[in-house]
């Protein structure tokens, strides 16, 4: 089912959006407003990878393809990678290190405030993504990593708020995210329901289905 070289292939595939952007920049060009294209592209791929990361758990449980778990960290880190590129594009290409203007933007512009928050929340997740951190943090690791939900929701809000009028595309992300969150909610409530209805001695101490 799962060949050995699948991981490097997926890894390289995750770099395609960046490669494509670079290729277009060097060949056909990025159109009239290249900085905007880079900003949009990196932002879009951050959202895509956040959504893909959050799809892993439902996907592996519903399809019983449990090995998918090994890709979750990679996708999460790619979400952070594209978020870094997105933030760098803003700070460097768009604002050109005009820190006064950047801090004003973050404080005053709600869409930048939420976008920046979404980015900052990903930092601890990236830092604690190592095997050692997972061991060290134990149960707390999962609690910390639930921040990804907050980050994804803020990311979608960031997108909705920056669009001038046509919110079709951000609504697509919002809907997918809604489904992924609803799945967790259902699993969680089902687990609680099962736990309470099976409250006979044999099941005491049984853990509810963990929400990932």
């Amino acid at each position: 089912m799962k060949p050995k070289y699948l991981k490097p292939i997926v890894f390289l595939a995750c770099l395609i959006p960046l490669g494509r952007l670079g290729w277009r920049a060097l060949t056909a060009g990025l159109g009239a407003n290249p900085i905007q294209v880079i900003t949009w592209s990196t932002g879009t791929w951050t959202l895509v990878f956040l959504v893909v990361t959050l799809s892993i758990t439902p996907a592996r449980k519903l399809t019983k393809q449990y090995w998918l778990i090994q890709f979750r960290r990679m996708f999460g880190l790619f979400a952070f990678f594209y978020a870094c590129l997105h933030f760098t594009t803003y700070v460097w290409l768009d604002q050109f290190f005009d820190w006064h203007s950047i801090t004003k933007d973050i404080a005053k512009r709600p869409f930048i405030t939420v976008g920046f928050t979404a980015f900052v929340l990903l930092i601890p997740l990236a830092v604690t993504s190592t095997q050692a951190s997972i061991r060290r943090l134990g149960k707390r690791w999962q609690r910390v990593h639930r921040l990804i939900f907050v980050s994804a929701v803020l990311g979608v809000i960031h997108y909705i708020w920056l669009v001038k009028k046509d919110i079709r595309r951000p609504v697509i992300y919002a809907s997918i995210l809604g489904v992924l969150l609803a799945y967790r909610l259902i699993v969680w409530s089902w687990g609680r329901f099962r736990a309470s209805s099976n409250a006979h001695p044999a099941s005491i101490g049984r853990r509810t289905i963990p929400v990932e």
Binding site: A32, N33, I35, Q36, S101, R109, F111, K164, D166
Partner: protein
């Protein structure tokens, strides 16, 4: 028939951009040339029958002292980065979606509080005395271009219909035709697009109806066959594909004002000190430049237009 075929060929393919630029330099460079240009304008009318003036057709225009000498945005950028929601909300799409749009036949109805209401055929309009107007264009989104429009003062057209004393505002309406404008099949904005100007703004010599750019008739994605250009206001005030101009007593409600009353006001003058509620308007990115440049009050046309707004609170009347 032969001439009609020419509409399928983008003007950029017929004549290289450098040619336009050289022509422009040539025209602007020497004042003495102005007379010659005027003569060729008249000659052009004799040689080219009006019915053949279609997209990509050369227009004869005389230079104008209102033109800026700043570096002009390449034609390819002006025709491939368009906010034209009648075609698409994506700026990169109108270039392709507008390919088969046929801006003929076309009439512009001028009515309302006027003594002589009149319907103008586009070919009559194209016979007006045309000028090259190289204007800065500042989009409300924070980018800008320098566009060599070809057009004539709106006041010339309004003069012909004789607005009466009750006329206080001018209301413009775009074509409504969802079959030709795929973007109108969705209610992303309230169709048709409507814009408005105060009478003194409409009569201002900087305010033009544009029928061309880079010396040729307007490409479809830039608002063919006729659009409004008000260079001291944000770009969305420049309503495209105009079919109706109505002189009215009450302030018209613009389409974007309807869409977001707290974000897009009636005046929408370019103003670096009044931010859009969601983003700053202090700076802009000139298309083709890396660094942002400061946005100028009234887009740099303050000397000509600031007096229109004396005593007005521009934060309130944004």
């Amino acid at each position: 028939m032969l001439i009609k075929k020419a509409t399928d060929i983008p003007s950029a393919e017929i004549t290289p951009k450098s040619f336009y630029l050289n022509r422009r330099k040539f025209l602007l460079g020497a004042g003495a040339i102005a007379g010659a240009a005027l003569a060729s304008h008249k000659l052009g009318q004799i040689i080219v029958p009006s019915s053949s003036v279609l997209a990509g057709t050369k227009l004869d225009a005389s230079p104008s002292s209102f033109s800026t000498t700043e570096k002009q945005t390449p034609l390819n950028d002006i025709t491939h980065y368009n906010n034209y929601y009648e075609f698409s909300t994506d700026k990169y799409e109108p270039a392709d979606l507008a390919k088969n749009f046929n801006p003929r036949p076309w009439t512009i109805k001028v009515e309302g509080l006027v003594n002589k209401p009149k319907t103008f055929d586009i070919d009559t309009v194209l016979k007006m005395h045309l000028e090259d107007r190289i204007y800065r264009m500042r989009c409300v989104e924070g980018w800008s271009m320098v566009i060599p429009w070809v057009g004539f003062p709106l006041s010339t057209l309004l003069g012909q219909v004789e607005p009466n004393s009750k006329a206080k505002f001018v209301e413009f309406t775009s074509l409504y035709d969802p079959k030709r404008f795929p973007g109108q099949q969705r209610n992303v904005l309230e169709w048709p697009y409507v814009e408005g100007l105060r009478m003194d703004e409409a009569m201002h010599p900087l305010t033009i109806l544009a029928v061309g750019l880079y010396g040729e008739t307007l490409p479809n994605q830039d608002g063919a066959p006729v659009r409004l250009v008000v260079p001291w206001k944000y770009g969305f005030k420049g309503i495209k594909a105009i079919v109706k101009i109505k002189l009215v007593e009450k302030e018209p409600v613009s389409t974007w004002t309807k869409a977001g009353p707290n974000e897009y006001g009636f005046y929408s003058n370019v103003n670096p000190n009044v931010d859009h509620p969601r983003w700053s308007q202090a700076k802009e990115r000139r298309i083709g430049e890396f660094f942002k440049r400061p946005t100028l009050m009234f887009n740099g046309y303050g000397d000509q237009v600031a007096s229109l707004y004396t005593g007005m609170d521009l934060k309130k009347n944004f």
